[in-house]
């Protein structure tokens, strides 16, 4: 087998090793659960079907696209996404449901709080 194959394989492994910390750092930062509530309304979205880290990426991405959503904190164990809202923004339950469905999941309940 050609020597360059081994060079490519070694380079690929090296690339993967180098990418890991970068990609991990590039992932969306999680909103600390202790974020001050005064920042705006908190909406807790109960989502059925969330069961792996990759599922969370799509859900977070679509929820963040909703105007007024400033942060999304997902709990895999609880199956919830807590939306930190811009105080001046208003979003409907339908918008939230649509965003979650675009990620391939279903909303079972939406709770709104201060």
């Amino acid at each position: 087998m050609k020597d360059w194959i081994w060079v490519i394989l070694a380079a690929a492994v090296l690339l993967i090793c180098c990418l890991v910390p970068f990609l991990k750092a590039a992932e969306p930062p999680q909103v600390p659960p202790s974020l001050p509530q005064a920042a705006g309304e908190k909406i807790t979205v109960h989502i059925e079907g969330l069961s792996c880290p990759l599922c969370v990426f799509g859900v977070s991405k679509h929820l963040k696209k909703i105007e007024g959503v400033e942060g999304v904190d997902v709990s895999l164990k609880e199956g919830t996404a807590v939306l930190q809202m811009d105080p001046s923004a208003e979003i409907t339950d339908e918008e939230i449901q649509r965003a979650v469905e675009k990620a391939g999941f279903r909303v079972s309940k939406i709770e709104r709080g201060p």
């Binding site: 990609l23 659960p33 069961s51 792996c52 880290p53 990759l54 990426f57 895999l76 675009k102």
Partner: protein, 295 residues
């Protein structure tokens, strides 16, 4: 040439809808609408068990590059474009024949037909269909003349792929199963045998052992897969080649690291049963490593 080789292309294809999940084949988990998955794998296949007296040894390196796009939450489309490097040695005369280049492009659409969600668990079922395009060269020659079909990087034919895949996923483990049929067509008076493939995968979360109520940790899965593959005889000018085709069963232990956007995986496919026809070369192992990034 009498090799059961087409399985390699299926590995390149079948691993393409991965959303974590299996390493060596498909999953029914959704790619979110507008989402793109980029996947690169490296596969090394060693086939040094020659039942004939020719003392043949074959090594294949396959680098499948895959793009998956979530057209809707139910429909995903995929393109798989492999780079191949093949080398066949004949021990007795020291003859070596080799070839490398871009192989056949495979395009597949997968549509979700079943979905059931509960807290922390989901069950999905999907159908998929696709076409393998003859983009790879199928008429390469070396000093000994035209390379045999198994040493070409392209098949020369349009080939149809249909199948179904099912996934059941919980917070701590996941089970996937698929069934795939490939209808190969004739090119240059040669037809690769059709292929029926079944796969089963079990992934268990090794780390973290427990989940915090807050946040989304990265997972490390231990993976065990079984890959069952039957290939019908190849045909040369409509006559069956009795030294081609047969049944193979692989057991595939592996490990997988999964974060929100990235997956790294490593597995080795070990042949457990190889009932190949005639003098077909047998596989020693297949080593699979890869990564994927979700956008």
């Amino acid at each position: 040439m009498r090799l059961l080789f087409r399985q390699l292309l299926f590995l390149g294809f079948a691993a393409s809808f991965l959303h974590a999940g299996p390493i060596s084949f498909n999953t029914a988990m959704p790619v979110h609408e507008g989402g793109i998955v980029v996947r690169q794998q490296a596969v090394w296949v060693q086939m040094h068990q020659d039942p004939s007296s020719l003392d043949r040894e074959m090594d294949v390196f396959l680098f499948p590059f895959t793009l998956v796009y979530g057209a809707t939450s139910n429909l995903a489309v995929m393109g798989n474009f492999p780079y191949l490097d093949k080398e066949l040695g004949m021990g007795s005369g020291g003859v070596v024949r080799e070839n490398s280049g871009w192989g056949d492009l495979t395009t597949v659409a997968r549509y979700e037909i079943f979905e059931r969600n509960r807290l922390g668990q989901t069950v999905r079922g999907a159908l998929f269909a696709g076409l393998e395009w003859p983009t790879g060269k199928d008429d390469e020659i070396d000093s000994l003349g035209l390379l045999p079909p198994d040493l070409q990087v392209g098949s020369g034919s349009f080939d149809l792929i249909v199948g179904t895949v099912w996934t059941a996923q919980w917070l701590s483990f996941q089970i996937d199963a698929d069934l795939l049929y490939t209808r190969n067509n004739e090119a240059n008076n040669f037809k690769f045998g059709d292929v029926v493939r079944e796969d089963l995968s079990f992934q268990y979360r090794l780390w973290p052992r427990g989940l915090s109520p807050h946040g989304v940790p990265s997972y490390v899965y231990g993976v065990l897969e079984a890959n069952s593959l039957y290939q019908f005889q190849n045909e040369i000018s409509d006559v069956g080649d009795e030294d081609s085709g047969g049944y193979q069963l692989f057991l595939t232990p592996g490990v997988q690291w999964v974060s929100r956007r990235t997956v790294l995986d490593l597995a080795v496919q070990l042949p457990t049963i190889q009932n190949l026809h005639g003098d077909a070369l047998k596989t020693d192992f297949q080593l699979v490593a890869g990564f994927q990034i979700l956008f």
